[in-house]
Amino acid sequence: MSAGVARPRLARELHPGAWWAWAIGLAAAATFTTNPLLLLLLGAVVCAVVMACRGDGVWARAFRFYLALGVVIVITRTLFRVVLGSGTAGHVLLDLPEIPLPDWAAGISLLGPVTREALLAGLYDGMRLGMIVVAVGAANALANPKRLMKSLPPALYEIGTALVVAVTVLPQLADSAKRVRAAQELRGGPPGRIRGLRRFLVPVLEDAFERSLALAAGMDTRGYGRPGAAPPAQRRLTGAVMLTGLLGVCAGVYGFLDGTSPWWLGMPMMGAGIAVALAGFVLAGRRVVRSRYRADRWRPPEVLIALSGVASGAVAWWVAQEQVQVANPPVAEMPQVSLAALVACLLGLVPLLAAPPPLTRESRELESVVESDEDVAEERLRS
């Protein structure tokens, strides 16, 4: 290809891990702030990236659901504040009558005057929660879940395979259910919904188990579960490391929760525990001897996208530490925005530039056109 022509970017699916890292980074950024302007901006960034980068898989359509759920969360959070509010001092917007509840219900009262401050505080908190859900929803919409399961780390090989089996079995279950429903119509039987359920469930289950046994045989004869070369000593080491790590996590969580414990028992302990546990996890993966066919690789776009998420979270953390007024604006005043906070949000837009075009029906067709062009060229060369 000549140097002057821009290389066309091939449509492909990114490594699912990259999208999850990006989304978790943005969700983390959201947890560090209750500033509604920043949260709205983050939401807009996430939506823009999802719109531009999602393919046409079934999972991609789920994003609408997460958006709706985010809105529901904001509304619920605010409504709780109104219904169960406890008369925060401030500007009264709406003076609702108070309804006291009996003593057993903690002696609380419902409704009461609604103040602007209470409403805003509920709204801010709700937006933060909603934004986390939307970010996770974005990862769901962008990352192909089947590929995610296939690129699980080796220590989760068995669980991952079982998950693949579960997802593969789902459509077969649907077929089986349809068949059994039709077949049961061919014979009479006791009426009633629960008994009817039995007539339906037992054949479906039997069918599923027969299938699962055949599947197991199929896996077995193709070498599934050939024992790896983990010597007992290494297995003991793996177990010890995992256990130590989890104990560390336990102690860390305790230290984190108990404000009176020494500082090192909190976050540092938790971090160390996680590190050790993950080391055990990696060790456990060593026993699995298998390779991957056309594995998803981490290429520059993946790395860039994952890093952008991490960076966004890191900058937001810095803002929360250094610019408290920006990160958590008081409800009485107009929220402010700083340059660093803007950067934290806009870092989330990196995928728009870095990601290759998504795999959709059109891009697939385009690729096949390219392929057939190659065929034509080859034929010309031959003749």
Binding site: V164, A182, G188, L215
Partner: protein, 532 residues
Amino acid sequence: MIELREVRFGYDDRTILGGIDLRIDEGELMLLAGPTGVGKSTLLGVVAGLVPGYTGGVLRGDVLLDGVSVIEQPARERAHAIGYVGQNPAAWFVTDTVEEELAYGMEQLGLPPETMRRRVEETLDLLGIADLRHRDLRTLSGGQQQRVAIGAVLTMHPRLLVLDEPTSALDPTAAEDVLATITRLVHDLGLSVLVAEHRLERVVPFADRMCLLRSDGTVLVDEPAAVLADSPIAPPLVELGRLAGWQPLPLSVRDARRRTSSLRSALDRGPAHSPERVPGPTEVEAAELVVAHGRRVVLRGVSLTLHAGRVTALMGRNGSGKSTLLWTLQGRLARTSGRLAVGGADPHQLKREQRRAHAGMVPQTAADLLYLETVAEECAAADQSADAPAGRCAGLLARMAPGIDPATHPRDLSEGQRLALVVAIVLTARPPVLLLDEPTRGLDYAAKTALAAVLAELAELGHAVLLATHDVEFVARVADDVVVLAEGEVVSAGPVRRVVAESPAFAPQVMKVLGPDWLRVDEVASALEAAG
């Protein structure tokens, strides 16, 4: 390369394999035959390493791979050398696209990615499935699935391929494709193949040697012609050869045709016309039926008449609309247009209970009807729901498949017994019309003979029977009329003799050898007897 020495296998109460010695050499195609239930699958499982791990039971003897004992190794440790393909490939798929399925075994062996990629491409070409590489496995036809299943073990480069009834669920054309693939593997790659098959007529011509598993658990291994000389199960061609006293026995239609001259004089007069079953009153009258699933039109104007006392066979390749037609006659599926009367009523307008009294149906997977824990309970439930006197269902069952312990779990029955149970349950409501969807799947010659007798008896009693099947020889034996469907249209219909004579794909072996007058071996036998 693989050798079985004195292999014995059994459960506490019965012996399945009783001392088997068997050697399979490099590049050999070995055919394993025997009645269903004698343990063909068990023997294959012993070779592959699935027995006793997946079946329980006690295994003795030794299995040698290149002189090294592997009997203690489970299937996964033999995977690199022995490729095993089970009966129902669709149930064996682990992944969901063709390419991934081909790679799965290699991933387990831990082969480097470049090797995997190369072998996948080679295998796609070798099996002629390159255009299917991205397809969802469930959307493939039966023949394509079978080829993918074979490919999925071939990528591991095994030296022995073990196949358990690879064509039992396929229509004749797809079966030919799969068998052609297997012979190509033997001839081009020098692969050894051990294949179990109950429709011997298809594989015998290609087999180097044949292993007959007898019901006492012993084997007879020799050239196919020698084994078949007095085998209890034999394709019609061999039976014909035995009858005519041909030596060696013919294994292909071509062999047999070249020797028919010796029979010609005895058979001039044609078959003695056996008394035909007289058609009774019309039970089913369908005219210009159009049925669609969603937007896809499956039946395009099918007309069909079924008479009481006649057995009609419905033939056609997979996907030609046979099942849809049966479900429409049963009443579950609605039609877009056309007229339909079953026993004088439109079945789709009837309530479910009334449908059962008009037309009984046995679906493709008969076991879907069973949900109770013992055969006795199933029979009692059938009697109760049909308002029949207690014991009617059990009586029907005893007539069709005598000797079933009523306390057995229905799922533990053999394929043939289970089918008999379902037919009995359906017949308990005494429907004048009986519809069967592929009832011969997985049945051996003996079970088919029993089923043929049952169908003949039902016809005598005045039922109208319609059965969908691929099994040409079975049709020649039981059917009075044949309807052939293609693309949702009737391409030919009429008495069996005329219809199968018109289309070579549906002609039974005897007809291919002796000409359009002859359908069955017993006709030839009686003609020879009459001629002295």
